[in-house]
Symmetry: C2
Amino acid sequence: MLKDQFYNYIQDLQDRITSSLETLDGTARFKEDIWKRAEGGGGRTRVIENGGVFEKGGVNISAVHGELPKSMQQHFGVSEADFFACGLSLVLHPKNPMVPTVHANWRYFEMYNKDGEIVDQWFGGGQDLTPYYLFDEDAIHFHSICKNACDLHDKDFYSKYKSRCDAYFWNAHRNEARGVGGLFFDYCKASEHMSMNQWYDFVTEVGNSFLDAYVPIVEQRKDLEYSKEQRDWQEIRRGRYVEFNLVHDKGTLFGLKTNGRIESILMSLPPHAQWVYDHYPKAGSEEERLIEVLKKPKNWV
Amino acid sequence: MLKDQFYNYIQDLQDRITSSLETLDGTARFKEDIWKRAEGGGGRTRVIENGGVFEKGGVNISAVHGELPKSMQQHFGVSEADFFACGLSLVLHPKNPMVPTVHANWRYFEMYNKDGEIVDQWFGGGQDLTPYYLFDEDAIHFHSICKNACDLHDKDFYSKYKSRCDAYFWNAHRNEARGVGGLFFDYCKASEHMSMNQWYDFVTEVGNSFLDAYVPIVEQRKDLEYSKEQRDWQEIRRGRYVEFNLVHDKGTLFGLKTNGRIESILMSLPPHAQWVYDHYPKAGSEEERLIEVLKKPKNWV
């Protein structure tokens, strides 16, 4: 069954990602928390803190099922139904402000009628990069890997899901993007063009591309020197990350308002954030160049 | 007219509060920003940063008017109308973790028909305290001042508005209060018991009580010694303050989603915040005692 196949996939992907990141970090190990959901299912949260490279991060999987909560019924415009949902969610906040934060998520959802037959099912997910100092070649590398993964399945996917990523991770009250984007897709359902098995192949292709998209950037930047001022700038930008996640991110708000596992949801928040009143970077600075790109998302490939 | 009377009052109160806080701080001065709202009105934002006592804080007034925005029409369940709103909002984040953060707000709202006649009008506001280390006598002092101000107008007000404060500043996803509360009132409209002028007297009584409620606490605690660990705890708790303001606070969300002046709205956010995965204070510690009180709001007077 597709759900078992995908859940096995994300279990294995979690292992591959955490093992690779531990090697990259060199110091800290992921701490694992297994949790259960009272209404059905649970998850395996893996968090790394105070590492050599990663100041804080989580690589979490969950598989939950049961009656569709009221708030989800409203959201999907359906009445009482049973559901199954599983996915992998990760956020990594490196210590060095030259290394970007990364976020990724791959998920699968099924809804059932009273006889337990699947009445709806879809995949969703994506991956996106949030730099504090912009190295153009890093953004190009990340987007190239995203595009390659997409192109193997449909030549239109990259530009479509790149645009959706820019639109979704838009910090509307600041009128700027959270970062330099990547991919975002949702409600990937069977159609005349794509069967569910083909969507599975696409989503796992993107999942498999994650380490190639991110690890070389970390390796390239993790030992660069930085100043106290650059670290302050990183923390101010992490304030914006908090603002996006708590004000706009549908997944976070949904989790907070439906009694999800709070600590697994909020592992996405950065270890340190700052808010400085009416802060603007100096004219002509690297900090200002980042903001300009965030205000007008670019095509990187 | 009541609106001019109240606007004059908050202008004067802003002067009294900022002048008193500058004396208390001893080092930093408030920086003033005058801003205009494209659709009508504007404000006077005063922010203090990196002071001797106050790490960050704002004492802002605004008076805005024009057509009621669509989102406010929905919120109030009315169709097109003109409105006027003015108020004073303040948040102060002291540097020393032994000194509590404080928030206060006093506001007045009018709605008009096509002939410019007032069809609805009300006052709202309150003041509440958020300690990082709990000195019972500080909470008792703050609540006593709140109660005295209330009792001069109605013997039922204190317990009513104290309960509403506990209910409003509830960080639902954490199942704990933001702080030790104070007063919260809204939609204070003319009735057989209270005229609008009597509400004016009550709200300004509370406004006038603010400095008496807060300043003695700051004086008492501002020179206490503290450790790096206590400062970390303060920043972790400030993360909860951010969570409340961005996820639950109606005023903040409303401002962010209706194109308010972002920097004036978000001056409420703390200068530094931390998020540590699955953090719990040690059994029997002062930090744990605070959490216990936040989970079960107490009657202080």
